[in-house]
Each structure stands twice: as structure tokens, then as C-alpha cells.
């Protein structure tokens, strides 16, 4: 067999298969494109379904009462009545300003308590060695299984006896005791990843444990600390059950209770109800866009590592 015929045969087959390959590539590209088109169609449809309710809340909030109840509904308001927002905010008999400030007060005091005590406990669990550490850590994690209702009634009775009902103490003070098992867990995981050499160096330099926790671990754990802060903010701002149980007088309401009250009395003023609901949602949306990374990371961390 000569080398010449060998190479010419090879050339022929290469030419033939080159055409086939081109055809196959075109087919694959077509298939890939139609796959992409279908995926985008489903994604866009899904996004519309998920976003539409919020759009409708926003649109209703700037309609007149008459237009809100118009049938069939108008998909875009005839006139954008931004005045609905101040009108709703200052609605007679409602104290939205006061309720918002009170909600902020509760949120901030809970957040400080949670960050301070959960990080302190997390440091203890992550870095100190002492008898009983594992027992208390497991007890902390196990406590998340318990439905809140089991402890609710005795606590309510005690709060009733010591005059804490209709104050913010039942909402704030428990947060200063460790700040929730999941937060401790999350921070502990993060603290365990900090190199021990840093700590040893600080100890040699004469720093105490509190100093190490506060001046080394906290600054190094800002992503985890922010995650905890964001979830705490979200939880407290959105909380309905806690205030519903413990707060009774309108003067002491939170925003969630206030909006529920408004709905109960003036439910037919839908445009105002949607306006205050939008106002309560906006801080959460802003927070989400400012700190999106931490949001997603937090869910993933609390979800996977348990």
C-alpha cells in the first residue's frame, strides 16, 4: 500500500464527513435555539405570574376608589393619584406614623440583641473548650423543633402577671437571650473558618477573649453578621403573630397590626389599603436589592447546613 493513495483516501473521507459535520452542527444549533426560545418563553411567563400581583397592588394604590371598583378593571390608571399615599398615611383614626416608628423601634432593639448575643454565644461554641459545650449546643439546635405555641401560654400568663402585656417587652427581651438557634448556628459555622493563628497571636499579645470576639471575629465576619441582621430585620418587620398576641391597645400597635385594623374598618377603601401595604413592602424590597447577596447566601446557609 502506497502512502499516496492512503493520504488521498483520507482526504476524500474528510471532505465527506466535513459536510456531515456542518449539517449536524446546523441541526444542533437549530435545536439549541428552539430550546432557548422555549426556556425564555417559560421564564418570561413565570416572571410575569410572579410579578403581576405586586404590579396590581401598586396600580390599585394610585387609582380613585371609583376606578378601583370599575368593572372590567383598568390595567393602567386613568389618572395616577399619588395623593392616595399621604391620604392613606394620614387617614382619620389611623396612626401609621406612630405605628411605623414603633415597628422600627422594635426591629432595631431586637436586631441589636440578636447580633450581640448570638455572636457571643457562637464564639463560645466555636472557639472555647469547656464541659457541657456540646450538650448546650445540641439543646440549642433541638429547640428549633418546638412549636412556639408550646411555650406561648405559660409565657403569656407570666407576662400577664408581671404586667408586660401590651408592652414591647415580650417582643424584644427574649431576643437578647441568644437571638435564635439558627443565627447562632450560622455565625458559629463562620467563626470556625477563621484561622486559629490569628487568635493565638492576639492571645500572646495579651488580648482577652472578649476583645478577640469583638475586635477580631466580628469585623472578620461581616458577611455572616449582615446575613443575620437582614433576616432578623425581615422577620421582625413582617411579624404579625407576636404583636397580635401581646399588643392590645391601638396606641401600641405595630405597622402589621395597624394595616390589619385599617382593613377591618375601612376595607372598602381598597386603594388606601393597597397604598399602606405597598409602603410596608417598600423597605423590604429596598433591603433586598441593597443586600441581595446576603439574602441568598443566608437562605442557602440556613437551608443546607442544618
Amino acid at each position: 500500500m502506497s502512502a499516496v493513495s492512503e493520504s488521498s483516501r483520507l482526504r476524500r473521507t474528510t471532505q465527506a464527513s466535513a459536510q456531515e459535520i456542518a449539517a449536524a452542527r446546523a441541526r444542533r444549533k437549530l435545536r439549541e435555539n428552539s430550546r432557548k426560545t422555549i426556556l425564555y418563553a417559560v421564564l418570561i411567563l413565570g416572571a410575569i405570574i410572579f410579578m403581576c400581583p405586586l404590579y396590581w397592588m401598586l396600580i390599585t394604590s394610585v387609582k380613585t376608589n371609583a376606578e378601583a371598583y370599575l368593572y372590567p378593571p383598568t390595567l393602567w390608571p386613568q389618572a395616577i393619584k399619588l395623593i392616595n399615599y399621604p391620604d392613606a398615611w394620614n387617614y382619620e383614626g389611623m396612626q401609621f406614623m406612630r405605628w411605623t416608628l414603633q415597628t422600627i423601634f422594635i426591629t432595631v432593639t431586637v436586631m441589636v440583641g440578636v447580633l450581640f448575643t448570638s455572636s457571643m454565644c457562637a464564639y463560645g461554641f466555636a472557639r472555647l473548650r469547656f464541659p457541657g459545650r456540646n450538650f448546650w449546643f445540641i439543646a440549642t439546635l433541638a429547640s428549633t423543633m418546638l412549636p412556639a405555641q408550646v411555650t406561648l401560654i405559660p409565657l403569656y400568663i407570666v407576662f400577664f402577671k408581671i404586667g408586660w402585656l401590651d408592652t414591647y417587652n415580650p417582643l424584644i427581651i427574649p431576643a437578647w437571650f441568644g437571638g435564635g438557634a439558627i443565627n447562632i448556628f450560622l455565625l458559629r459555622q463562620f467563626f470556625m473558618g477563621i484561622p486559629e493563628e490569628l487568635e493565638d497571636a492576639a492571645l500572646i499579645d495579651g488580648a482577652g477573649r472578649f476583645r478577640i470576639w469583638w475586635s477580631i471575629f466580628m469585623p472578620l465576619s461581616i458577611p455572616a453578621v449582615l446575613t443575620v441582621a437582614i433576616f432578623t430585620f425581615q422577620g421582625v418587620w413582617n411579624d404579625f403573630y407576636g404583636p397580635l398576641v401581646y399588643i392590645s391597645s391601638q396606641d401600641n400597635y405595630t405597622l402589621a397590626l395597624g394595616i390589619n385594623l385599617f382593613k377591618g374598618i375601612y376595607g372598602a377603601q381598597t386603594q388606601y389599603l393597597m397604598a399602606v401595604s405597598t409602603l410596608m413592602t417598600i423597605p423590604m424590597i429596598v433591603l433586598f436589592f441593597v443586600a441581595q447577596r446576603y439574602f441568598i447566601r443566608g437562605i442557602v446557609l440556613t437551608g443546607i447546613n442544618r
Binding site: 426556556l39 400581583p53 405586586l54 403569656y156 470576639w213 404579625f240 381598597t270 437562605i299
Partner: protein, 306 residues
């Protein structure tokens, strides 16, 4: 002869230091969890109208829970809750898994879609409940208006009819799948790409890869979402309370277990009965969680650690 080892001074200092750090959570567990738990168990064996002193009634509350359904409706509310969980859990898991797979495709613009699917979960319960109440308003709501445009002559009356009220709440719940979707997404991204490459070489198609690789690899995530979702569904409260003005209507069709417990404790002030209800709920959650954990050996796939 017993040798007693004298603990060093340093040992006691370390122990003290450790308990100072985890002090908040140790005290918290005692004050807010273990103490009230025992108290709640004791109260559940008493007749305790908040304003009078408790009297011991033995197991009477537990007997009442299961026998006096006409007045107390505990069994009924348990059925409502179970029905909701049976509808909402599979739907939520399937939808959030599908959404996660969709959002895990490598396409341009994905962050925007992810945000759109996730955003509903940060909307406060109060705002989302009233928003949905308005969307699903049977006469003026946008959803029934759309259904009529599409040719439905007799669209569902959603929260206004006993038959459709509970499925409506399931639907509203499906809007908030973003949380479990993100957890699934993280699960998907942690599946080693090598597995898919190997399967492709062996000639596997997409469908086979989903059943043989994706699902087994995701089973720990599914397990986690199943357990937390179950615990959450059994404690369902806010949306039903907000949309029915706390009545669990129409005709007690959405009278969830926790709505009932709230009424018994804070409207009727039956502290003994409500505590017994809380313990029944706890036991149900505990047993179901244990069953799920036991069953997990059969279907949850864990990578062998190397």
C-alpha cells in the same frame, strides 16, 4: 484506690469563661424554652381560665379535644390543617424544584429572572394577604375578570366559598416558593458536573439524567424541605387569619389548628385547653418528623465521605 484528678485553675477559668459566652442562650433556653415547656405540660392538665386560679382536671382537656368536636372544633381544625399540608407540600416541592431547574439553565439574563421568582417571599404577610384578597375578590378582582375574558362563565369565588377557600390558600402559598427554590438552586449547583459528563458519554438522555442523577443527588435537599415545610404547614396561621378576619371562614373551611388554638387561648382564655392543644400539635409534629427521618434511609442518598 480512686485517684481524684485535681482540676487545674486554668480549667475552671476556661469553664467560667465558656459559660459567660454562651450564658445568654443557656439562660434563654431555661427561661424561654425548658421552663415554659414544663409549665405548659402542667397547665394542660388543669382547667385554667386566665383570671381565676387553675384546678387540676387530669386528662380531661385531652379527652375534650378529641370528643367535643361540635363545640371546640379541634378535630375539624386538625383536618383543615392536614388537608392544607397534603395539598400545599407536594405542590410547593414540585413547583420550587421545577423553578430551580429552570433558573439553573445557563442563559443570559438569569439574575433578573431569579430576582423575579424570589421577590414574593420578602413581601410582608399582611401586605401579601390583602393584596391576594383584592386580586381574588370574586366580583371586582382582576383574576376573575381575566377568567371571564377568557370565556369562564362561572369563575371560582375563591375565599368566599367553603369549597374553594382552602385551595385558594394553597395557591397563595405557591406564590411564595422562592425560599425553597433558592435552596434547591444551591443543591443543583453542588451536583458535580462530572456525573453528567460521564452519563452523556454513556449515551444517557436528559430525562434519564434527571431521574438517575439530579433527583438522587437532590434527595437530601428534598428531605430538608419536606421536614421544614411540614413543620411550617402544621403551624400555618397568618394568611388565613388575615384573609378571614380571624374567623377561619367561610363556615370554618379555613379554621386552621393554630387559629383555633389562638381563639381558645386569647379569646376564650381557656389556658388549660390551649396548652393541651399545643402539646397535641407538638406530638404530631414530633411523630411525623420521626417517621420522615426513619423513612429517609430508604430514599435519601448521602454521598459517602472520603
Amino acid at each position: 484506690m480512686v485517684v481524684t484528678k485535681r482540676r487545674s485553675r486554668q480549667y475552671w477559668i476556661n469553664t467560667l469563661q465558656g459559660y459567660i459566652f454562651i450564658g445568654p442562650v443557656v439562660l434563654g433556653l431555661i427561661i424561654w424554652t425548658f421552663g415554659p415547656m414544663i409549665a405548659s405540660l402542667v397547665i394542660s392538665f388543669t382547667d385554667y381560665p386566665l383570671l381565676k386560679s387553675p384546678t387540676w382536671v387530669g386528662l380531661q382537656n385531652y379527652v375534650d379535644i378529641f370528643t367535643r368536636n361540635d363545640e371546640l372544633r379541634v378535630v375539624q381544625s386538625l383536618q383543615v390543617t392536614a388537608t392544607y399540608a397534603v395539598m400545599a407540600l407536594p405542590l410547593g416541592i414540585i413547583l420550587s424544584l421545577l423553578a430551580a431547574i429552570l433558573l439553573n439553565q445557563k442563559l443570559r439574563g438569569m439574575p433578573v429572572f431569579r430576582t423575579a421568582f424570589y421577590l414574593p417571599t420578602i413581601v410582608p404577610a399582611v401586605a401579601s394577604a390583602f393584596m391576594w384578597g383584592w386580586l381574588l375578590q370574586p366580583d371586582f378582582g382582576i383574576i376573575n375578570s381575566l377568567l371571564k375574558t377568557l370565556g369562564a362563565t362561572n369563575p371560582p369565588r375563591w375565599m368566599a366559598e367553603p369549597e374553594s377557600a382552602l385551595p385558594t390558600l394553597v395557591l397563595i402559598g405557591a406564590w411564595g416558593i422562592g425560599g425553597s427554590m433558592v435552596i434547591f438552586l444551591a443543591g443543583l449547583q453542588s451536583i458535580p458536573e462530572v456525573l453528567y459528563e460521564a452519563a452523556k458519554i454513556d449515551g444517557a438522555n436528559d430525562w434519564q439524567m434527571f431521574w438517575r442523577i439530579t433527583l438522587p443527588q437532590l434527595s437530601p435537599t428534598i428531605f430538608f424541605i419536606l421536614v421544614t415545610g411540614m413543620i411550617g404547614a402544621l403551624q400555618y396561621f397568618s394568611t388565613a387569619f388575615l384573609l378571614t378576619g380571624g374567623t377561619g371562614g367561610p363556615l370554618f373551611a379555613t379554621y386552621f389548628y393554630n387559629l383555633n388554638l389562638y381563639d381558645k387561648a386569647f379569646k376564650w382564655l381557656f389556658m388549660g385547653l390551649a396548652s393541651a392543644m399545643a402539646w397535641v400539635l407538638f406530638l404530631i409534629i414530633f411523630v411525623l418528623t420521626m417517621i420522615t427521618f426513619r423513612s429517609s434511609d430508604a430514599w435519601v442518598f448521602y454521598e459517602v465521605k472520603r
